[in-house]
Amino acid sequence: MNQKNLVIVGHVDHGKSTLIGRILFDAKSLPEGFIEQIKKTCEELGKEMEFGFILDSLEEERKQGITIDTTQIFFKWKKRDYTIIDAPGHVEFIRNMITGASQADAAILIVDAKRGIEEQTKRHSYILSLLGIKKIVVVINKMDLVNWDVSIYEKIKKELEEILKKLNLEVHSIIPVSAKDGDNVVNKSKRIDSGETLLESLDRIGIEEGEKGKLRFPVQDVYKFDERRILVGRVESGEMQKGEEVLLQPSGKKTKIKSIENWSNKKEKLDLGESGGIVLEEPLFVERGEVITREPIKIKKIFKVNLFWISSPESNPILKLTTQESRCKIKANKIINSSTLEEKDTQEINDIVQGEVKCEKEIVFDDFSEIPNMGRFILENEEGETIGAGIITD
């Protein structure tokens, strides 16, 4: 099925919720009676009906007028099904933005034409690059507020292209719109000739096939419900065939895949992304965290990373990568403020760190650029809260 997850990011008040409301309304994707219900609620609260209220279905949000959490909305356009994830623009809600964006295939970055690029525009752009989201559609919103002045659009476009280029992000298109008036979102604008509307541009984004490539199967758990000893997990890269010779990392043990277990019938192979169970030829002692491969891969305690502090930095957090975990220390070589993208001296919340992670245990991984699923990690504090996220560069 042709399905895409989109995340909409950008600075607070640049019009994300309004844009989503407009898409749903113009693409005729709202349930019957929905708009009427919102109009009625607005009347009760003494507010003017806004498209943004479609998403802000929580009472508190309506009162404050800002998006607190990631809301997911499903809509259909032509032959494709979309899920849009609305990510909050407020800096306090960066956790929600990351949660939302980490599930996306492509991103819409929204910029207010009147206010231009602001700190969350840059920070969110950085986070998109950290999360490995390559397809970016930029929407220059609120063009009605600048009387559809093309020079303003061109100026923002140029500035933004420079920032995104620095972050290695690929711009799919940059579209001038007015979500409020419905120009260039679903329907073409009569005010400007921009070539395509937002939805036309989204429709052009291709479906990326997961890379087949090298086998990586991190062991999630070992089940012994009956006489079988089943290793369960998910194929993070490549595919696994019954009967093939495999290598366990980091232990280095060699064996064969005796069988691929299923609930009702036996299988011959596990596909990329498939959760499955296997039985090994030898009765080896295997635990959660080992990775099944074909060839030796990187096993290190110290590696180079690029990470983002979602909460206040801590000196001895727990690193989690696939089903592995280890306590670690971070050595910063370069600290960058994510909103200005300028260098600084001390690590704080929302900073980017380029440096080294030193783990207590050996970690099995691939560079993020090679196999993304095997080269990204989170950092947790004592309370089990996610305080950072990063990618391994070497």
Partner: protein, 266 residues
């Protein structure tokens, strides 16, 4: 892998994480289509035999078909079934006539609190989906609740890259939602693909069918001619009516669902 297999694999991964990371896990089963699919996925995840109990919160106001379906499946699938009732409230004859909010809160939420305490449950698998209701779209896959069942939705943690909440505070339990990313039509396509048994109330009789089922007094059937799964799928591909339109909790008051959920409603 096709789309339904992708949904399935993601859910099974989450179910296995739940089982690995949390002791005293249980599944909350309403016999509706979603929690029945979840139950099916758990059977798959553990190769036919689910290693934890299945809880049904019985308000005593369910459809007769639901009780029949529950007992037949429990036997056929060898489920460790626990039925939870708020006996005290039932003795006081609390029911929908005493107000729907009060009824739901006593017979469902309170009853669940009692079972959790009695059985020492620390983690609960639930079949909710993001596309069901605006507020459910705000959920995480792993969502901690305090003893009073309060959901601190304004202060939820980061959830990314298949790493899920593991550590709980002493008086917390965790709700786990492996079907969060499924849509209503996906559920029906999967039921068809896997040939999962489903309650007959979902199929149209005399021009009406239940799209969402709960308690008899608070569910009303919608106009529909969909008599089988194929027809339901077709209907869902074109409908613009909200799934829970027939459910009283959602429309009685503008924020009833939100209030119920903040108080611990499933």
């Amino acid at each position: 892998m096709d789309y339904l297999s992708e949904l399935e694999s993601k859910s099974i991964y989450i179910i296995r994480e739940a089982y690995y990371k949390h002791n005293n896990l249980a599944l909350l089963w309403s016999m509706g289509k979603d929690s029945t699919v979840l139950l099916w996925l758990c059977r798959k995840a553990f190769f036919g035999k689910i290693p934890f109990p299945i809880i049904h919160i019985d308000t005593t106001h369910k459809f007769p078909d639901m009780y029949k379906f529950r007992d037949e499946r429990a036997k056929e699938w060898g489920l460790k079934l626990i039925v939870g009732k708020n006996e005290e409230a039932l003795a006081k004859r609390i029911g929908p006539d005493k107000g729907k909010f009060e009824c739901c809160n006593s017979l469902k939420t309170e009853a669940l609190k009692q079972v959790i305490e009695k059985e020492g449950i620390q983690a609960l698998l639930l079949g909710i989906r993001r596309d069901e209701h605006g507020i459910r779209a705000k959920e995480r896959y792993f969502s901690p609740r305090n003893k009073e069942f309060k959901w601190d939705y304004k202060n939820q943690g980061t959830e990314m890259w298949d790493q899920y909440k593991e550590k709980l505070k002493e008086d917390q339990h965790i709700r786990i939602h492996p079907l969060l990313h499924w849509r209503e039509v996906d559920i029906w396509r999967y039921i068809k693909k896997e040939n999962i048994p489903i309650i007959g109330l979902y199929f149209a009789k005399e021009g009406r069918r239940y799209r969402s089922i709960g308690c008899v007094p608070c569910c009303s059937p919608m106009l529909s001619d969909a008599k089988n799964i194929d027809q339901i799928i077709k209907e869902l591909e074109t409908t613009k009516e909200a799934e829970r339109k027939g459910r009283a909790q959602d429309k009685e008051k503008a924020y009833m669902m939100q209030k119920l959920r903040a108080m611990g409603y499933m």
